[in-house]
């Protein structure tokens, strides 16, 4: 791997939130988060709802400014970018969102929606060329025959088709990175896979790096086959490593809990009686996040140290992990081995 395209260094993002009584409080949605993203890679980010995944995605897309810390794009602080470089940043990082319906202007046709960025950034000249390029883009994302789609309104397409339109729009600006925030969670089960495959293909063929944000570990595993996986918990990355290694040797207790909670698509494995390695089910509120290691109230291995001190990301057996006791914690394995051996 070469130099990273994007670098987050100790980035903190805060919002104004309200506590139970409606009083304003500061909510650190991202906390001293550091992350490097490399050209052409696929990085999956997983975590429970509300842990800050989308916020992280928005920071990377330049929609939120870090309250603290720096975000470098191509080595330069994104906040101070000007002119050409700023434009390069804007165009270089694209975002695809979960709700494909909301992401398209309902009053504009697919063609109009795709045309706008091309024309605005002078990527095509003249109506003819624009039309041609739009056709090309739709073909690339597999919306063929193009005539069937190009002049339709968003509501006239299915969820999967709309998601492809979003892909087309994102790649129209020749970006270096695409951040995909839960792109398939609203797509029909039987169609999800094809969208994921499309992303893999774009990654391979166009060399675009993908940051895939999800709460579904299975799809994360699928798309990031050879890439990396980051696990977030309450605004922090708690573990980051290669996907294959993570699945088999998860080091952070939280990651272990997540993995064991995922049901496996076979009754034999799924029905194996197992106790989740976790103490409580309630995720603490960001407005009153626990001290020290955020996970300590739910962690079966927590000690007094965890309560006191915030663990930093450090080298683990593989990748990095933020846990005081990473070495001490039992190795986690999927029921995979036993199940498959029996079959």
């Amino acid at each position: 791997m070469t130099k990273p395209i994007m670098q987050l260094e100790n980035v903190t993002v805060s919002f104004e939130g309200r506590d139970g009584g409606g009083k304003k409080v500061q909510m650190d949605v991202l906390q001293e988060l550091s992350l490097d993203i490399f050209s052409g890679e696929i990085l999956a980010i997983v975590g429970e709802s509300g842990c800050g995944k989308s916020t992280l995605g928005k920071v990377l897309a330049g929609l939120h400014r870090p309250a603290e810390g720096t975000y470098r794009y191509e080595g330069q602080d994104s906040v101070v970018l000007k002119g050409k470089e700023k434009k390069a940043f804007r165009l270089g990082v694209q975002l695809i969102q979960q709700d494909s319906y909301a992401a398209l202007n309902p009053s504009r046709t697919i063609f109009q929606s795709l045309k706008a960025p091309l024309v605005a950034h002078r990527l095509t000249r003249g109506a003819k060329q624009t039309r041609k390029r739009v056709t090309e883009l739709l073909e690339t994302v597999g919306l063929t025959p193009v005539e069937q789609f190009v002049d339709k309104f968003p509501h006239q397409l299915s969820g999967g088709q709309r998601q492809r339109v979003l892909m087309a729009r994102a790649i129209s600006l020749n970006p270096r990175v695409i951040i995909a925030d839960e792109p398939v969670s609203m797509v029909d089960v039987s169609l999800r896979l094809s969208i994921l495959n499309l992303m893999s293909r774009l990654n391979k063929e166009l060399g675009i790096a993908f940051i895939y944000i999800t709460h579904d570990l299975a799809t994360a595993r699928f798309i990031a086959q050879k890439g990396r996986l980051a696990v977030m918990y309450l605004g922090r990355i708690v573990e980051l490593s290669e996907v294959g290694l993570m699945m088999n040797q998860a080091q952070h207790p939280y990651m272990q809990a997540l993995l064991s909670a995922v049901p496996l698509p076979h009754p034999k494995m799924a029905k194996l009686k197992k106790q989740l390695p976790i103490k409580g089910y309630e995720v603490p509120k960001l407005t009153s996040s626990p001290t020290g290691c955020h996970f300590h109230p739910r962690c079966p291995y927590a000690t007094e140290e965890c309560e006191r001190e915030t663990p930093q990301l450090r080298e683990g057996k593989h990748g990095v992990v933020a846990c005081h006791h990473a070495e001490r914690i039992p190795v986690w394995t999927l029921p995979h081995s036993s199940a498959s051996s029996s079959s």
């Binding site: 309200r18 009584g21 409606g22 009083k23």
Partner: protein, 332 residues
Amino acid sequence: MSKRVFLKRLASAGITLVLAVILTFILLRLTPGSAIDQWARNYANQYNITLDEAYIRVAAMINYDPNEPIISQFFRYVSSLVQGDLGKSMVHQALSVNDIIASALPWTLFVSSIALAVSFVIGIFLGVMMAYNRKSWLDPIVSVYSVVTNAVPDFILAILLLIVFSFSLGWFPVNGAYNFRLTPGLNLEFVGSVFYYATLPILTYVLTMIGQWALMMKGSAVGVLGEDYIEAAKVRGLREKTIRKNYVQKNAIIPLVTQLAVFLGAMLGGAILVENLFQYPGIGYYMGEATRQRDYIVMQGILLFIAVSMIVANFIADLLYSKLDPRIKIEE
């Protein structure tokens, strides 16, 4: 609503109030025409003197110094406002705006609150009925009715009511607030008379507002009927009546509550026409009277009073809204 949010709301209402004071003041200074002109002409006729002399007399009688700088007028106005004094009438020397409002307000409040309550209750009822029976005869009737009453401004309706029920049929008095032979008091006869005299003004408002309430309620109720919790309630085996009352109405009314303030505002503003047509002695009537006489101070006072009522009504509607809808943790 927490105390802090409450206070914040209060503060913003306060700022609006201050601005309203300034705006009404400026507006009234902009108004051309002088109180003296019209008054002098009436005076000359009434007391049989020459116009020139009438001008001089009236100029001496008017309770207003046209040469006083605007700024100093403003500060005088504000300083008396602070003490709750809206000023003195320019042309009725012994009368304060407070007196006028104190005597007129009960009538306006009486008519508008009853009209509001009656139209609200009936409108809500009709709206829910319509939402429930989308295919019944009620829907088109109420819809067309609403469209028609929406198309006919309330003052025209007032004229028509007056012509038909007072002038032609003679069922209702042509003007006034109660039978003058009765002594005001809390006796049945007097109260009956008050209602009798207020019938047409109330009817005017009720007839114009019912349709709007009904349509709003229908829209809101149709929305609520589409909510999952209604289906869930049916699945739970609740009675139709319970669902209608505790689910549909309770939820559908909420968005209408803020409208109460809007309607009240429309009524207070429209009172100037309606009350003048019925010669009903509410603030609209006195506003009209003051306008005819160019009594700026009274106009300004009543206008400000209406503005304050609006601010208060909005404020109360806000409170009510957050009371009724537990989801609202009033933001901002």
